[in-house]
Amino acid sequence: MKPPPFSYHAPATVAETVDMLAGLENAKILAGGQSLMPMLNMRYAQPDHVIDLNGVADLAYVNADDGEIEIGAMTRQREVEFSGDIARLCPLLAEALPHIGHRQTRNRGTVGGSLAHFDAAAEIPTVAAAQDAVLGVVGPKGEREISFADFSVGYLMTALDLDELLVSVRLPVWGAGHGSAFEEFARRHGDFAIVSAACLLEADDAGRIARAALALGGMGAAPVRADAAEAALRGESGGADIFREAAEHCRALEAHDDIHAPAAYRQHLATVLARRALERAWARATAKEGA
């Protein structure tokens, strides 16, 4: 299992990278390499050109301001895991991160790489779905933004054009009183989730659910928002019954079969994990209010 032959390119800037993407046929971008390198070694991917982003300046950062967090595409997952800003402003992402692979893969793997590879069971895309992430993209025509809702176009496929580079992800920050929770069921520590649930809740002064976001990973081609569940929650008083009722909507989400689990099992897990995430997120949302 050795990589096939390819030409290697190590651009220093985003502009240079975009030029290469425009000029090279059958090119693959190499970020942390935790997905692409296995595919090269197994020769599932046989690109003519590999464009290595690891030498590109200014793509690794965590910036927090103006009600949002911006993370550079080449920020290593372990940097995010230990970021004080992320823990404070986006605890959902902080909670999800230790579930990603293992320390060795998080030391190398990047936030942008996970989003661009776009495995439906991966944790970062699932959190991005819940957080209404906005993806910063640079292409030959300049910069543009893609909202997460528009990002998926199929299994392992994104709205990125072949000549576009993902450079950042922006996560709108929820209010200081919000509660969040990340739940996942994987066969082993660090495995891709069979199903995961990422949830954010905000309570109003009367103890009702003012705002709800619930995303499920691992179900279908991409992480999905549980719209019906969210609608069922809004304006309701939080509690075991409403969480169970809302979570039950997740059974209707599309899911796929694979060797690890049949679709019906995934749909069942979605209801269980959604309920557990809602309960924990609500406990946090309401505990903070009282504090």
Binding site: M1, D191, I259, A261, Y265, V272
Partner: protein, 782 residues
């Protein structure tokens, strides 16, 4: 156990080099001018091969050769690896060809080999080899394979029954006719892999000047490899040497002689240079042997107190596409089914079915985990049906300690009687019950259920024939350096064999482990060897080492007596010297070194040898030990099942085993722990999935799940020591003790946790979706 508990166990000789990264594993060997190989393998489970076009591959820069069957045939006296253990039960002879000819019968079967300047280029070229396949119907399931009208696994086969045998004794039908109760079940245990972290590999080197072919191979049995090479290449032993370097785990499949070993040897001879092949993990999934798929259809007859009167049934064993070892696995299973229990009447029909899958050969446990799973499932069933405590049912059926040695009317594969030689089976069970808190578990379970938690406890006993004979070769030699060299046909695959043998030899020869070096698995150093399998090294090699070292000791003392002019009785070996024993109040200070003794008998032209007992300070032993010695033990596992997800966590795991006298408590416990992890994997994680066309679906370590540290519980290991009378050390094998009972105990615990749902579990592994489906079905039915 921990460093404190191990304080009396010598540290391993193997460790310092391995810890510094200075081991010498197969891929660490690099020879001048060495080329590297990549195999072209069948992507189909069954196909006719109508042609191979290797022109593009041969034309690739850096490629030295592409060899197909036609290219290697001129170098082979026989193109088949004839390795099947003898038996009268075979219905078909299915030997593997070195490279496939006109038919391929499993995904992964080697079809051609590319030899290139490096592995990268070899893989580039392998992609360019065009093989024309005409796909034929494939058989994926061993039960379906035996049905009328099943497509043949081999085109020329009339059917897929490889072998059939009946095992048993007594008047089974009468026992069933008179039984108070009869319970039946269908029980399945699934195949898995060994997955040593080091895959296989070999380096073949041909020295034309000396006409010597040397094969370094990651094998548990290099002497078998040599014999196969002698048969196939038509060369004699003096023209070939097989050597095992450090081996990164074996676990069974590395005892097999593989086609790659032969092809690589031919390539080295044909090209006149060294060639390396290192199996990659994907190849390990499709080309290295696997084990365990067995379907049992069994009934047990019991009296009103739950004592077994008889077992009868049928076993269908999946054999894979070829015979790469023999019919030993289902023989082991059928022979060991009675386990640690008294079974008055027994009959099992055993069928081995060919399938279009990689051949099946022993993986750690070798048929015993399945048999243990079956008998222990039946024990739980009896307890449940009769409303008895599961431990009590086992007590009532256990072979009592005072019945040892206990002969069963069964024969081993070699025709010897099955005699359980020693042990106190009940005592091991009581040990684990006590250490696991079996008695108060019902109260804990009830309390947990009030909190909505489903915890369960399971128990399994096991016994395992170990130390399969007839012998292992050991030479003990003291050179003129004074150092003690030990050479053996046994191989070291991680068990600490070198340390174990050094301990045994040092015990006879001065007590200094640091003065002993051990060479394992080199056919040039040991003429007649067998190798490592079946938890046999301590028993067979250990015994030969003990006897050989004793002879060298006697010789050294006799020569020393002659040199020192002292009676032998007054001498002893201390470290690397022979001393006159101190007398009370007087230090003798009379000594001669082992080096001086070795010098004295190394021979000087024209001078006679001192001591009058011949030349050299060495002895070679092949102590014959025909009968296996039976290790035994018991396990209690405690689990928690999340009834919403089907997820299982192991909360507690207690293992007690009896391998007779323990030579090194640290390495004995270590092997039991590793086996336990493997067995828990067989219960919960390891699934080698194939589709209906026998295409493997789990060919990477992200899909095929090996247990990792967070899932693994801390295991409480303890042992009893019931020395066997069958060898002078009193030792029994250790290597497979952990794996054999684990699936039985874990599945039992899950069933117990789910007892409110009234489920019965009859297979391993159990995945979360399967557990959840059973819970939901039970709920829907209630």
């Amino acid at each position: 156990m921990s460093a404190e508990a191990y304080r009396d166990s010598p540290k391993r000789l193997e460790d310092p080099e391995l810890l510094r990264g200075r081991g010498r594993f197969i891929d660490d060997i690099t020879l001048p001018g060495m080329l590297e190989a990549a195999f072209v393998r069948s992507p189909h489970a069954h196909a006719a091969v109508s042609g191979i076009d290797a022109e593009a591959a041969r034309a690739l820069p850096g490629v030295r050769a592409v060899l197909t069957r036609d290219d290697i045939l001129p170098y082979l006296k026989s193109e088949f690896l004839v390795v099947g253990l003898p038996s009268g039960a075979y219905k078909q002879q299915r030997d593997r060809p070195a490279l496939a000819g006109e038919e391929v019968v499993y995904v992964g079967e080697p079809v051609a080999v590319v030899i290139a300047e490096d592995r990268y280029i070899a893989e580039d070229a392998a992609q360019l080899v065009m093989v024309d396949y005409d796909i034929l119907p494939a058989v994926a399931d061993c039960r379906a394979a035996l049905e009328d009208g099943a497509p043949p696994v081999h085109r020329d086969g009339a059917d897929n029954l490889l072998a059939e045998l009946d095992v048993g004794y007594g008047d089974v039908d009468a026992a069933f006719a008179n039984a108070a109760h009869v319970f039946g079940d269908h029980i399945h245990m699934h195949r898995g892999g060994s997955h040593s972290i080091e895959c296989r590999g070999a380096v073949a080197s041909y020295d034309a000047a000396g006409d010597l072919m040397t094969l370094w191979v990651s094998s548990q049995m290099p002497h078998s490899t040599l014999r196969v090479l002698v048969d196939m290449l038509g060369r004699d032993e003096n023209q070939m040497r097989v050597v095992t370097p450090d081996i990164g785990g074996g676990f069974g499949p590395k005892l097999v002689v593989y086609a790659e070993d032969v092809v690589l040897s031919v390539a080295a001879i044909k090209l006149g240079c060294a060639v390396k092949w290192i199996e990659d993990r994907r190849e390990h999934f499709i080309a290295t042997t696997q084990e365990r798929d067995q379907y049992w259809d069994v009934e047990v007859a019991v009296d009103g107190d739950g004592r077994m009167l008889g077992i009868r049934g049928a076993l269908v064993h999946e054999h894979g596409a070829y015979t790469a070892r023999g019919i030993n696995l289902p023989q082991n299973s059928a022979e060991s089914l009675p386990g640690t229990y008294v079974l008055p009447n027994y009959r099992m029909n055993v069928k081995l079915a060919l399938t279009n899958k990689v051949p099946v050969t022993p993986v750690r446990g070798a048929g015993h985990p399945q048999a243990t799973f079956v008998i222990e499932r039946l024990m739980d069933r009896i307890a449940r049906e009769l409303g008895l405590d599961r431990a009590e049912v086992r007590r009532r059926n256990q072979v009592p300690a005072d019945a040892m040695p206990y002969e069963r009317p069964l024969k081993t594969r070699g025709g010897l009687p099955v005699v359980l030689d020693s042990g106190d089976y009940g005592a091991c069970q009581e040990t684990v019950l006590e250490r696991a808190g079996w008695a108060d578990f019902p109260a804990r379970q009830e309390a947990a259920r009030k909190d909505g938690r489903y915890i369960g406890i399971g128990l399994a006993n096991f016994m395992k024939g170990t130390g399969r004979g007839p012998f292992e070769a050991v030479t003990v030699r003291i050179g003129t350096s004074g150092r003690i060299h030990v050479y053996t046909g046994a191989t070291s695959i991680g068990q600490g064999t070198k340390t174990m043998l050094a301990q045994i030899v040092a015990a006879e020869l001065g007590g200094d482990l640091a003065n002993v070096t051990v060479t394992t698995g080199d056919t040039a150093a040991t003429a007649l060897g067998i190798g490592t399998s079946n938890s046999r090294n301590a028993v067979t090699a250990g015994t030969s080492a003990h006897v050989a070292a004793g002879k060298v000791r006697d010789k050294a003392l006799a020569i020393a007596a002659s040199i020192l002019d002292k009676p032998v009785e007054e001498l002893e070996i201390v470290g690397a010297e022979v001393h006159a024993k101190d007398e009370p109040g007087r230090i003798a200070n009379i000594k001669v070194t082992l080096a001086e003794i070795a010098h004295a008998v190394s021979g000087t032209p024209g001078y006679s040898l001192p001591g009058g007992i011949g030349a050299g300070l060495e002895a070679t032993e092949h102590v014959i030990l025909d009968s296996p010695t039976y290790a035994n033990g018991a396990v209690v596992a405690e689990v928690e099942v999340d009834i919403e997800t089907g997820g299982v966590a192991i909360l507690n795991y207690v293992l007690a085993f009896d391998s007779g006298r323990v030579i090194n408590a640290m390495t004995a416990a270590g092997q039991a722990l590793g086996g336990t992890a493997h067995g828990i994997g067989n219960a919960l994680f390891e699934l080698m999935a194939y589709d209906e066309n026998a295409q493997p679906l789990t060919t990477n370590l992200a899909d095929y799940l090996l247990i990792s540290a967070p899932e693994m519980p801390r295991v409480d290991v303890s042992f009893r020591e019931s020395p066997t009378p069958l060898n002078p050390l009193g030792v029994k094998g250790v290597g497979e003790n952990g794996v054999v009972p684990a699936p039985a105990a874990v599945i039992s615990a899950i069933e117990d946790a789910l007892s409110p749902f009234g489920l019965r579990l009859s297979k391993a592994p159990m995945s979360p979706p399967e557990i959840l489906a059973l819970i939901e079905a039970a709920r829907a039915g209630s």
